[in-house]
Amino acid sequence: MARRRLLLRLQLHSNPEVLCGVRGAVAPIASAIGFGEEDCRAITLALDEAITNVIRHAYGGKTGREIEIRFSKVNGAHADKPGLEILLTDRGAEPKPDALKGLPPGELRSGGLGLHFMRQSMDTVVHKRVGATNRLRMIKFIR
């Protein structure tokens, strides 16, 4: 990763009611970087799913816990094709081994789509445990 420029940092509680505000923030940021409408929708979905998973799984549905999101503009291999990096940090439980593998889509199951949506929408989705925090890094470049 060549360069990274922090655009916006959000701190929120693990409350589903703020999801709409986060979606509202990310779409115009992606658009300002230069992503087209469909990409903006995909990025919005990926971030929504990531926060939903933090609320439901890392925090077990408990509200009032801290979530931090950082949006950065990044330059990849091509200077004229920048990208958006989203770094999500929580202080919740560590995922169980293999939990983040995800399930195959297309089956009539109420659940198990979030990780699939995130991976389909972004170029990179990487989870890392750092001390007592989970860090989810998602990156997408303009094509």
């Binding site: 999801l19 919005t44 979905l45 297309g106 009539l108 949506f117």
Partner: protein
């Protein structure tokens, strides 16, 4: 998100407006299951024209409706999908499993697919 029901003879139409996400997908799920499982309505129709956004938790609620309708030999129908809702259903590879129409007229008139 707002959800309201119009009850015709043997048919319930839910008009949904706003985003469906974790903040309200449980309410959507509950409305669907009440209609299908408790009231045993044989045809439940979701008007999604006013839904510009739906995420996996919303899709999961629709899947619950679909599963309940199958259990009960009822019909569960969607219409008025926005571009974005269609994209998300496509991504879930579940688009083909739902009975979907363009508009309310078709949703009301069509015989079982």
């Amino acid at each position: 998100m707002q959800i309201s029901a119009r009850r015709l003879e043997n048919i319930t139409i839910f008009d949904v407006t706003g985003d469906i996400d974790l903040a309200n997908s449980p309410a959507v799920r509950k409305a669907l299951l009440t209609e299908l499982r408790e009231k045993k309505i044989p045809r439940v129709i979701m008007n999604l024209q006013g839904v510009k956004y739906i995420d996996s938790s919303g899709i999961a609620s629709l899947v619950e409706g679909l599963k309940a309708s199958r259990d009960l030999q009822a019909r569960f129908i969607l219409f008025g999908l926005s571009k974005s809702a269609r994209e998300v259903l496509q991504l879930s590879r579940l688009l083909k499993l739902f009975e979907i129409y363009e508009n309310e007229e078709q949703a009301l008139s069509n015989e079982s697919a």
